[in-house]
């Protein structure tokens, strides 16, 4: 039996509006809890977010989108690296953040 992990995700305001959600979203991940798995689950639940966090085709993070968790910048971690334990355990959220850049 595959254990499902629940990951708390905080989206930036514009993406909450697009996805019609308020507050955090909780995503169930089967298998290894990685950035890629979280983003796959996010896009599967909210298809309108496809292309807004990462490129449709290359799956690369958009340049002005950042990933934070546990007071760390995870933006440059490999997509298949395991997320911090506190995120996997659900005590800390995974933050999708619009970088501070311009007006």
């Amino acid at each position: 039996m595959i254990h499902a992990t629940k990951i708390r995700v905080v989206l930036p305001a514009h993406l909450k509006t697009l996805a019609h959600v308020t507050g955090e979203v909780t995503l169930e991940i089967s298998g290894e809890a990685t950035q890629r798995a979280v983003l796959d689950a996010l896009e599967a639940r909210y298809p309108v977010l496809c292309g807004t966090v990462r490129d449709h085709v290359t799956k690369q993070r958009r340049p002005f989108v950042r990933f934070f968790a546990c007071e760390q910048d995870l933006s440059h971690e490999l997509p298949d690296s395991r997320l911090p334990e506190a995120v996997v355990l659900g005590t800390e959220p995974f933050l999708v953040v619009g970088a501070i850049a311009g007006g």
Partner: protein, 371 residues
């Protein structure tokens, strides 16, 4: 009673301005999609309740929205614009090869006959098409893969396909324009394309009369007379009487022939409008006076229209997609400025009044004439 709906795209959201046929009292709805750049929104000629909207952001990329009720409610539709095959390269500003990269949708042109069909002009320059109401977009790659495509070079605003004109007399004929590749035409529904830049002279490129490389700012056509085209180029106002096969300059007595917008009166195909702008780098009206120029002779002879427009200390720009006309009698003319004003004339340009004064910078203006 008939009315008009003015669709305004700005740097920070969309606005919908509505009035009855008198066009004096306006209801302002917005901002919609607040905080997003709205390069363009346009209604379907076949169903005025169907509106497409290009919404983009430096952070979150491209989103496309669709309304089926005249802008009251919206749904997010397909935003995947993938170039066909291996995209290859165009030229970068310094002349080196640069990979084709999708950045945003500049212009959406709904089909004249089917609200589920529409074309999208994008940066880096390519034309996309949907036949399912925008859920899926396919590239009409015959344009980008034209033999000249690898030589196309961006203008200051990027390598953008900003103008799409559908010929009402021939569903297979489409005109497009790209900064700074020039104008192109297809006569087979988008399979093959022909550069239509003969007669253009651009001193800022090595061969001023080259087949491509001209910085076309906007092209307009009267639906009542397909085949007669008017163009505002980086410099020069041009006219073609043979579907773009040959252009001639009609700048005439304009105080400067630089500008971005150009449009045609809805009922008088020889009456055209431009807004002269000082350049090369200032990009504001001459002498701080915002003046629309009208020609009733298809060019060459121009008159300034100033009644109701600021005639001192005005230093705004009017961008390429920010002028439109309604089809009421008398024809209404509308334009938006980078200072956030949207001006309207209900008498073909004789007098003007602002509908709104303080929007974010206006990127585009379109008008729907409602039954």
């Amino acid at each position: 009673m008939s009315g008009v709906r003015v669709l305004v795209g700005t740097r920070k959201g969309a606005f919908i301005l509505e009035s009855d046929g008198k066009r004096k009292n306006w209801k302002v709805n917005g901002p919609l999609f607040a905080g997003w750049e709205i390069y363009h929104l346009k209604g379907s000629p076949a169903d005025p309740n169907r509106i497409y909207c290009s919404q983009s952001s430096g952070w979150f990329g491209q989103v496309v929205e669709r309304s089926n009720d005249g802008g009251k409610t919206w749904e997010t539709i397909g935003n995947k614009f993938s170039y066909d095959g291996v995209p290859g390269t165009h030229q970068w500003y310094d002349g080196t090869p640069h990979p084709w990269e999708f950045k945003r949708v500049w212009h959406i042109e709904p089909s004249l006959t089917d609200p589920d069909k529409a074309f999208a002009g994008v940066e880096d320059a390519a034309l996309f098409y949907t036949s399912d109401g925008g859920q899926n977009w396919q590239e009409l790659s015959g344009l980008r893969t034209h033999t000249t495509g690898s030589q196309w070079q961006p203008g200051a605003g990027g390598l953008c396909l900003h103008t799409i004109i559908l010929d009402p007399s021939d569903p297979n004929r489409i005109y497009i324009a790209i900064s700074a590749a020039g104008a192109f035409r297809t006569d087979d529904g988008g399979k093959t394309w022909k550069p239509i830049n003969q007669g253009l002279v651009s001193e800022f490129i090595p061969d001023p009369k080259a087949e491509i490389g001209h910085c076309v700012h906007h092209v307009a056509m009267s639906p009542s007379r397909p085949g007669v085209l008017y163009m505002q180029k980086h410099w020069d106002v041009m006219r073609s009487d043979n579907a773009g096969d040959l252009w001639r300059e009609v700048s005439g007595n304009l105080p400067t022939d630089f500008g971005f917008v150009i449009d045609v009166h809805a009922h008088e195909p020889e009456t055209i409008y431009v807004v002269p702008i000082k350049s090369d780098s200032e990009h504001f009206p001459l002498e701080g006076k915002l003046r629309v120029y009208r020609s009733r002779t298809g060019g060459n002879e121009w008159e300034p229209l100033t009644n109701g427009l600021p005639q001192s200390d005005c230093y705004v720009n009017v961008l390429r997609d920010a002028m439109a006309v309604d089809s009421l009698d008398k024809c209404g003319i509308y334009f938006g400025t980078t200072g956030g004003q949207v001006y309207a004339s209900a008498d073909a340009g004789d007098t003007w009044a602002p509908i709104v004064r303080d929007l974010p910078a206006v990127l585009s203006v379109e008008v729907q004439t409602l039954p």
